[in-house]
């Protein structure tokens, strides 16, 4: 007599209580020997520990792979550098055998229950991706402080409202969870734009899927410390946003609320940025007074409201208030980069193709 056993597919859609055994974490890493240990340790100590942690050593030259291997995780190495974070993540996707996949940057540390918090979003079958609250790991330099206030503002206010409408603008690339089957349907993370997370999020929306923002799932990436690194990151992000708008605008018109959110963001990133950067200096010259330049910080009362609320909840009010001036500097630089990107992509037709690693 023979006994026939059926091995169930472990990637079958999830209709049972979810656990860490349903999760594989992909950590793309290129020369991240300094930070990757903290990232892996934070993953290994999660309240819902993942089934597998796969570090993609994208041909690093600083021993990143050895550090990861020493911590007992799976390390894979493509035959040659994939050229982008998206490429490294997609390379690892073939090694994933669980229903859910998490992408975590190699310089990002997760709060101890972050995976568990994100898992809860996937009890609903329609949810294809979920992301969490992002805050800088280090808040010391001007740029880190600026980013700290920007995140406090955006994740306390903008993203919460987007979540209430069921349309978070982006499932953040530094820490997001996805259904593996849908990732495969979309071919993984595409490198056709510089912002693979935005590309994937908008593609999922157009496929009728849901994306969730779970504010209780907190992650802490390392943000650029210097102007050079910040510039590299902002260049990539600004070009990525413009590229995604060009790529998806027609499809986004069929996605309620998101289409308006993107249109408003696009207006602010281009037309408003131009007015912001050009009008105030012109007025200052025409009116012959530098006091006009106070316009750059004139909305501080409005900005402070969500920042203070977010900081108080985290008991970081002092740090937040001390960092507010840096936000206005970063916002101005941000506007410059977005305006440059719009000009390069739309006016000059110079599309950014090379993924330049910053943070």
């Amino acid at each position: 007599m023979t006994v026939r056993t059926i091995q169930p597919s472990i990637e079958r859609p999830l209709h049972r209580p979810l656990s860490g055994s349903d999760v594989t974490v992909i950590v793309p890493a290129y020369n991240e020997a300094e930070s990757i240990a903290s990232t892996i340790e934070s993953l290994q100590t999660q309240t819902r520990a993942p089934r597998e942690i796969i570090v993609v050593d994208d041909c690093s030259s600083d021993g990143t792979g050895n550090v990861a291997r020493a911590l007992g995780v799976t390390v894979i190495r493509p035959p040659q550098n994939t050229g982008s974070k998206a490429g490294a993540q997609t390379f690892a996707l073939r090694h994933v055998h669980t229903a859910l996949t998490v992408a975590v940057d190699a310089d990002t540390v997760l709060q101890h229950d972050a995976l568990e918090r994100l898992l809860s979003a996937f009890e609903k079958p329609a949810v294809a991706a979920a992301c969490g609250f992002v805050l800088p790991q280090r808040v010391k330099s001007l740029w880190e402080r600026g980013r700290y206030v920007e995140y406090l503002f955006a994740f306390t206010y903008y993203k919460q409202v987007q979540e209430c409408y069921g349309r978070p603008l982006i499932s953040s690339g530094c820490f997001s969870m996805y259904r593996t089957a849908l990732l495969r349907v979309h071919g993984g993370w595409s490198n056709r734009t510089m912002a693979e997370d935005m590309d994937l999020t908008w593609s999922l929306y157009q496929g009728g899927n849901e994306v969730r923002f779970v504010p209780e799932a907190v992650c802490y990436p390392i943000e650029p410390r210097t102007f050079k690194l910040m510039g590299q990151q902002l260049r990539r992000w600004s070009h990525g946003f413009i590229q995604n708008v060009r790529l998806h605008w027609r499809g986004l018109l069929s996605v309620p609320y998101l289409r308006s959110a993107v249109a408003v963001a696009f207006w602010d990133a281009t037309i408003a940025a131009a007015l912001y950067l050009v009008l105030l200096p012109i007025l200052a010259v025409v009116l012959r007074t530098p006091w006009v330049l106070l316009g750059y910080v004139i909305d501080a009362p409005a900005v402070l409201v969500p920042v203070v609320v977010g900081a108080v909840r985290r008991r970081e009010l002092g740090r937040a208030l001390a960092s507010v001036p840096a936000f206005f500097v970063l916002r101005t630089v941000n506007a410059v980069y977005f305006l440059r990107a719009a000009g390069a992509e739309f006016v000059l037709g110079r599309t950014l193709h090379v993924y330049e690693k910053g943070h």
Binding site: R12, H15, R167, R179, G208, S254, A263, V264, A273, V305
Partner: protein
């Protein structure tokens, strides 16, 4: 990434309006669509933030006015020609106008794109024209440019995340996927069909057909299927089969009360629908609410007497309720309507249960004090009639021991059982035991302790005697619960040794057992027994108190910890062991196994420690205690069952009466129940 200029620009205004509209949107979606998308606490916080930002914007406008006014007055040396309010209003108006322009442009583009897509679809499927969506017409019919723009904005806010507004490409893709899944389903490949329906849901999460199919294919995994069936009910709230499926899954998961609630909802949707009525009956069956299930089946069959399947299910419940006679009738009705070889086989078995039967019995036992008992006898049951059943039993017992040559006794009793409802049963027996004459002598019996002196026992009765015996037992258990009560009273001759028989030691006992489910699988049982042991020499009293904590590890298996305490008023010289106090602590287990061939094996065992205190003395040391009961019941043919029972004890608790302090005992009983034609 935060595109734009966070804080300033029209983004701030857009999100402020979005937050302000949240309560209206949430209320609309909860009331009209029955879905909740956001938590009220989150919404309230966003409202507060929006209010705070509005204040911030007012401050911004005021600062701007002050700034420009100051510039004109002091820098350009001219008077301020406009008031601060004008600047504030102008700033807000410009921002609002810009926002409205941007949003309306996007909405118009969206309408244009959707209309083009719809036209393309119409051209593609000219034979099946797509119905024209009504929403744009309603908006246009509202009239007036201002209202039109307002409605566009409102539609934008209220339609967000609405599944009905998802892209048409996704819908058509889902339709193709669904057709593919249906094809696989029809081919009978369940595994592949599961994957295919899951793929449909990945593109169209609101597809109710795929949801139901996917759940239905996984009925054997209730934990997986349940959320899908619940989702199906949310999508198709008027389909009673969804409710029935949820009830079915819940009952399989052991959530009986919740399952009954869902089956009641199904019954409200279709009170005359067979699946609703029978579905509820099945949930009741699984919940072990046999009496209510019987009512449900009988109610249905009163108006639908040609439902063969319902007759079969009714017969199964009648057997469970202890009414095999009525079960035979039900199965015969089923066979008459739809002959089935399996049902015929089942009918033969139930007929055997209901028919008059003779059960010959042979038993033997031996204990460590040298007593051996042989018993031969039999029982005759009359045919089952309604809730009652009667019979007669008789036996001859031959007791051999070290102290006396032997003793013989004959017993006969009338027996009756009455089970008016499944949860309540009474057994009663009344009869007599005749003791054969025994020679007079004085004998030496082992003392209560192996190291102690032997006891001298006189036997005074020598003539034959007739002892009346009887027993009444009432059992009740709550439906779908382990709560139960078992009360018993009996009068019997103690026949553990020839000496006890010769002394005519009679035990009259009242006992009770209360079982109370505490939490989850844990049940506490309290047992109390009060007995009088009397003979011509003395009257002694025995009390027993026991506590049992039983943990059900499976429907027919449990582990337990038990504590028993037995007390005798005074020592006995009649031949039974009567310490002042006896304590036993043990761990026990009970389980039943039924094989596919209906062979039943039951084991009840325990092991632990016991200690004894002689009359008015201190407790002795703890010593090992052990007991085991095992039963095997094997059907040889319909109406013929062979039963073998084994019992072994090294403990003073489980037996009626031990004959010494170091008493070990073993017995075997074999019987054959033979239904008469």
């Amino acid at each position: 990434m935060t595109p734009g200029i966070p804080g300033t620009g029209i983004g701030g205004l857009f999100y402020m309006f979005s937050a302000a509209a949240l309560p209206l949107r949430e209320g609309y979606r909860r009331v009209w669509k029955g879905v909740a998308t956001a938590r009220w606490r989150v919404i309230a916080l966003q409202q507060l933030l929006a209010a705070g930002i509005l204040g911030g914007m007012w401050t911004t406008g005021w600062l701007l006015g002050v700034l420009v006014g100051t510039a004109r007055t002091h820098i350009l040396a001219g008077p301020a020609t406009v008031s601060h309010n004008v600047w504030r209003t102008a700033t807000f108006a410009i921002s609002l106008a810009t926002l409205i322009a941007v949003v309306c442009t996007v909405e118009l583009m969206g309408l244009w794109v959707r209309r083009r897509a719809r036209r393309a679809a119409q051209l593609e499927s000219a034979t099946q024209p797509t119905p024209i969506e009504q929403a744009p017409r309603r908006i246009a019919a509202a009239g007036g440019r201002g209202r039109w723009l307002f409605l566009l904005l409102a539609a934008e806010l209220f339609s967000a995340a609405d599944p009905s507004q998802t892209v048409s490409q996704a819908k058509s893709s889902a339709a193709i996927s669904l057709a593919r899944a249906e094809s696989i389903y029809d081919s009978g490949d369940a595994e592949a069909a599961i994957d295919a329906y899951a793929a449909v849901l990945a593109t169209d999460p609101q597809n109710s057909r795929a949801t139901y199919r996917l759940a239905d294919l996984q009925r054997h995994k209730p934990a997986r299927a349940l959320p899908l069936f619940r989702r199906y009910v949310a999508l198709e709230p008027k389909d009673l089969w969804g409710y029935l499926a949820v009830a079915d899954m819940l009952s399989r998961l052991g959530q009986s009360d919740e399952a009954l609630r869902w089956s009641a909802m199904a019954l409200r949707l279709g009170p005359t629908e067979r699946d609703a009525v029978i579905g509820e009956a099945r949930v009741l069956v699984r919940a072990r609410r046999t009496d209510r299930a019987l009512v449900a089946y009988r109610g249905w069959l009163a108006t639908h007497p040609k439902d063969a399947e319902a007759w079969q299910e009714l017969s199964r419940e009648l057997v469970r309720a202890g009414r095999p006679g009525e079960a035979v009738d039900a199965l015969q009705r089923s066979q008459a309507l739809a002959p089935d070889p399996k049902i015929a086989q089942r009918l033969a078995v139930v007929r055997g249960m209901a028919a008059p039967a003779f059960t010959p019995l042979v038993a033997g036992s031996h204990d460590s004090d040298g007593n051996t008992i042989w018993r031969f006898g039999g029982a005759l049951e009359l045919g089952a009639a309604g809730p009652a059943r009667f019979g007669v039993e008789g036996s001859r017992t031959h007791v051999v021991g070290d102290t006396l040559p032997s003793a013989d006794l004959d017993a006969v009793a009338l027996r009756g059982t009455w089970q008016p409802v499944a949860r309540f049963k009474i057994d009663a027996a009344a009869g007599a035991t005749r003791i054969e004459p025994i020679e007079t002598s004085t004998v030496t019996t082992p003392g209560p302790s192996p190291k102690g002196p032997p006891s001298q026992v006189s036997i005074r009765r020598t003539s034959a005697a007739m002892i009346p015996t009887g027993q009444v037992r009432a059992r009740w258990h709550a439906p779908a619960s382990r709560l139960g009560l078992d009360l018993r009273a009996d009068r019997a001759l103690v026949d553990a040794s020839p000496l006890l028989v010769a002394n005519h030691v009679i035990r009259t006992q009242v006992s009770g057992l209360l079982a109370v489910p505490v939490a989850g699988p844990l049940t506490l049982r309290a047992i109390g027994k009060v007995a009088t042991l009397s003979d011509s020499l003395e009257t002694n009293h025995k009390t027993q108190a026991s506590g049992v904590a039983a943990f059900a590890v499976a429907p027919a298996a449990e582990l337990s910890v038990q504590f028993h305490q037995i007390h005798y008023d005074h020592p006995s010289i009649s031949g039974y062991f009567a310490p002042w106090q006896l304590q036993v602590a043990e761990a026990g287990t009970y389980f039943e196994i039924e094989t596919p061939g209906s062979v039943v094996i039951a084991v009840d065992g325990g092991a632990g420690v016991q200690r004894v205190a002689q009359q008015r003395g201190q407790f002795g040391p703890w010593t090992a205690a052990f007991r085991l009961y095992a039963m095997l019941d094997a059907p040889l043919a319909p109406g013929r069952n062979f039963r073998l029972e084994l019992e072994s004890e090294d403990s003073q608790v489980a037996t009626t009466a031990a004959t010494s302090g170091q008493w070990r005992y073993g017995s075997v009983i074999a019987s054959l129940r033979w239904a008469l034609p």
